[in-house]
C-alpha cells in the first residue's frame, strides 16, 4: 500500500469513527464500509481502526474473522454468492454452480487471478419461494437456471 493510500485510509477511518464519537459501536458499520470500498480489510486498516476506537488490533481481527462478509484477504471486485440451502439445492444449485465455474474459469471458494470475480456459496438468502437464488454484489437474482445464471455472471467477468 502506498503512503498516500495509507493516509487516505486513515483519514476516512478517523472521519467515519468521528461520527460515532469513536465509540466501539462504530466498529461493524466501519468495517462494512472498508470492506465495501476496498473489497477486503487490510492489516493496516485493522490497526488504524483499533487505534481510532482505542481497542486492541486483535479485537478488530476477531470481528473480521468472525463474519463471513468481512475478509482480511483481497476478494474480487464482484462477489457472486450462490445459495446452497436445501431448497435451492433441490432446485438445481449443483448444475448452476458447475455452469458458473465453467463460465468464469475458477471454482467456488476461489477468486479469479485478475481479482475481478469471487465465487462463493452462502447459506439461505431468504428466497426459498423463488429459488435457486444468488446475490451478485448487492443485487439478488432468483429463479435461476444454468443458462440465465451464466448470462448474469458473464456481465461481470
Amino acid at each position: 500500500m502506498l503512503e498516500l493510500e495509507k493516509n487516505n485510509l486513515t483519514r476516512e477511518i478517523e472521519e467515519f469513527a468521528g461520527n460515532y464519537n469513536n465509540n466501539r459501536t462504530a466498529l461493524m458499520p466501519l468495517l462494512e464500509y472498508i470492506q465495501g470500498k476496498y473489497h477486503h480489510i487490510p492489516d493496516f486498516a485493522q490497526q488504524e481502526v483499533a487505534r481510532v476506537l482505542d481497542i486492541h488490533p486483535v479485537e478488530v481481527y476477531g470481528v473480521v474473522s468472525f463474519y463471513s462478509f468481512l475478509n482480511e484477504k483481497p476478494k474480487g471486485r464482484n462477489i457472486v454468492r450462490l445459495c446452497k440451502s436445501v431448497i435451492c439445492d433441490m432446485g438445481g444449485r449443483c448444475a448452476i454452480a458447475k455452469a458458473i465455474e465453467r463460465e468464469i474459469g475458477v471454482k467456488f471458494g476461489e477468486t479469479s487471478p485478475d481479482l475481478k470475480v469471487t465465487l462463493e456459496f452462502t447459506n439461505c438468502l431468504g428466497m426459498c419461494d423463488q429459488g435457486p437464488a444468488m446475490i451478485v454484489n448487492d443485487r439478488v437474482y432468483t429463479k435461476l437456471d444454468p443458462e440465465t445464471a451464466c448470462a448474469i455472471v458473464r456481465e461481470i467477468k
Binding site: A26, I87, C124, C128, D129, T142
Partner: protein, 403 residues
C-alpha cells in the same frame, strides 16, 4: 429501488397483509397510557414470532419496569433460518407496519433509540428502508415530540449484519451491535435488564412488531379469538419446496400440516420440515399434527419434500449448515455438530455401526441440554427426527437385489 427479480407472493392475507394506513395505530397508541397498551397486548396473548414464543407483553413490561439511563428497542431482521422469508416480505411490502410497531414499542417501554438489525443478505432493502424512515421523520412519526406528544423522542437507525446466522439470537445480535464477535451471552441477566451497552433492551422479531399495530387497532381480545388456546392469533408461514404455490401464507395457529399442504398444492409429500433447519422433520404418518406452540412450533419456515427427495441428503445439508454457522464459543455446539455431520457422512458411505450412531444420538441429547444458546440446543433436532422417522429409507438400503 428494489430489484425487480424479487417477487413477493402473498397468499391468504387475513390480517397482517390487510391495508394499513401508516401512522394510524401510532396515533391511537399515543392517546393511550403505557399501561393500557401493555394490557391490550396481554389480552392479545401475542407471543414472539421469531420461534421461541416468549410473550411480548411480558418482555415489554420488564423493559418498561427496568431502571436504566437509556432504553433500546431492536427489530430483529436477521432472518437467517433456512426456509424463512416472511420478514423480507413484511419489510418490503409493509415497512410502515413494522416501523410503527417499533415506535409504539418505544413509547410503551420508554426507549429513545431503536435499531433495525438487517441481515447482510438483505442489503438491497437498505436504501428503501432509509427512505421510509426519512418519510416518517418528515411526518413527525419519528424525531422529537412525536405527533405532538411532549417528551416522546425516538429515532431508528439501520445496522447491517455481516452474514452470521447466530446473530439472530438476541444476545449475539446485541454483541454484534456493540462491535463484538456475534457470540451469545450467558443468560441471565437477560437483555430486558442488561442489553445493548448494559441498558434495558427489548429485541423483537419483525413479524411481532408488525402485529402490534393491528392488535391496537382491533383490540387485544378480538385478536386472541383467532388461533388456539396457547397460540393466539395468526402466523405468517414461509412455504417453500415441492408444492405448486410457494410463498407467504397468513393462517391461524392450529392449522394441521395436512390442511396446509392442501392449500399450497403439495402432492406426494413425504416429509415437512417445520421450523427451518433447527426444527423437526414431520413424516407423512404425522401430518395431522397442528402448527402451534402446543404441538409443532415454528418461526414460520415450512419446507416440503416429496417422495423423490433423499432425506439423508436433506439432513446432511442441515448439518453442514450448523457446522458452518456455529459460533464456536461453546464446545457441545462446536464439536457436537461436527461429529453429527461426520456421522451422517458415515451413513452416506455405508461405513457405520449402529452402536456409534446410538452414541451420536446420546451426544445429540447432550447438546440439547449443554449448549449455551438456541443454535446448539436445536441443531440436533433434524438429526434425531430424520434418523428416527426415516430409518427405513436410510438404513434399509438394497444389497444384492434383496432388501
Amino acid at each position: 429501488m428494489i430489484p425487480n427479480d424479487v417477487t413477493n407472493t402473498i397468499h391468504d392475507s387475513s390480517l397482517l397483509f390487510s391495508s394499513y394506513e401508516a401512522g394510524s395505530a401510532l396515533k391511537k397508541a399515543l392517546n393511550m397510557t403505557r399501561e393500557d397498551i401493555l394490557f391490550e397486548l396481554k389480552a392479545s396473548k401475542l407471543k414472539g414470532r421469531g420461534g421461541a414464543g416468549f410473550p411480548t407483553s411480558t418482555k415489554w413490561m420488564l423493559v418498561a419496569a427496568a431502571k436504566g439511563d437509556d432504553k433500546f428497542i431492536i427489530c430483529n431482521a436477521d432472518e437467517g433460518e433456512p426456509g424463512t422469508f416472511k420478514d423480507r416480505v413484511l419489510l418490503m411490502n409493509y415497512p410502515f407496519l413494522v416501523l410503527d410497531g417499533m415506535v409504539i414499542g418505544a413509547y410503551t417501554v420508554g426507549a429513545q433509540h431503536g435499531y433495525i438489525y438487517l441481515r447482510g443478505e438483505y442489503v438491497y432493502m437498505r436504501d428503501y428502508l432509509e427512505d421510509c424512515l426519512a418519510e416518517m421523520r418528515e411526518d413527525n412519526l419519528l424525531g422529537d415530540n412525536i405527533l405532538g406528544k411532549e417528551g416522546f423522542n425516538f429515532d431508528i437507525s439501520i445496522v447491517m449484519g455481516a452474514g452470521a446466522y447466530v446473530c439472530g439470537e438476541e444476545t449475539a445480535l446485541i454483541e454484534s451491535l456493540e462491535g463484538q464477535r456475534g457470540e451469545p451471552r450467558n443468560r441471565p441477566p437477560y437483555p430486558v435488564n442488561t442489553g445493548l451497552c448494559g441498558q434495558p433492551t427489548t429485541v423483537n422479531n419483525v413479524e411481532t412488531l408488525a402485529t402490534v399495530p393491528h392488535i391496537l387497532l382491533m383490540g387485544g381480545e378480538e385478536y386472541a379469538k383467532r388461533g388456539t388456546a396457547s397460540s393466539a392469533g395468526s402466523k405468517l408461514f414461509s412455504v417453500s419446496g415441492d408444492c405448486d404455490k410457494p410463498g407467504v401464507y397468513e393462517l391461524p395457529w392450529g392449522i394441521t400440516i395436512n390442511e396446509l399442504l392442501e392449500k399450497v398444492g403439495a402432492r406426494d409429500t413425504k416429509a415437512v420440515q417445520v421450523g427451518g433447519a433447527s426444527g423437526v422433520c414431520v413424516p407423512k404418518s404425522k401430518f395431522n399434527r397442528t402448527l402451534s406452540f402446543e404441538d409443532a412450533p415454528t418461526g414460520g419456515s415450512i419446507m416440503i419434500f416429496n417422495e423423490s427427495r433423499d432425506m439423508l441428503h436433506v439432513l446432511k445439508n442441515f448439518m453442514e449448515f450448523f457446522v458452518e454457522e456455529s459460533c464456536g464459543q461453546c464446545t457441545p455446539c462446536r464439536i457436537g455438530n461436527q461429529k453429527l455431520l461426520e456421522g451422517v457422512e458415515m451413513i452416506e458411505r455405508k461405513d457405520y455401526t449402529f452402536s456409534y450412531i446410538n452414541d451420536l444420538k446420546d451426544l445429540a441429547h447432550t447438546m440439547k441440554v449443554a449448549s449455551k444458546c438456541g443454535l446448539g440446543q436445536s441443531s440436533p433436532n433434524p438429526f434425531l427426527s430424520i434418523l428416527e422417522d426415516f430409518k427405513d429409507e436410510i438404513f434399509l438400503t438394497k444389497c444384492n437385489g434383496g432388501v
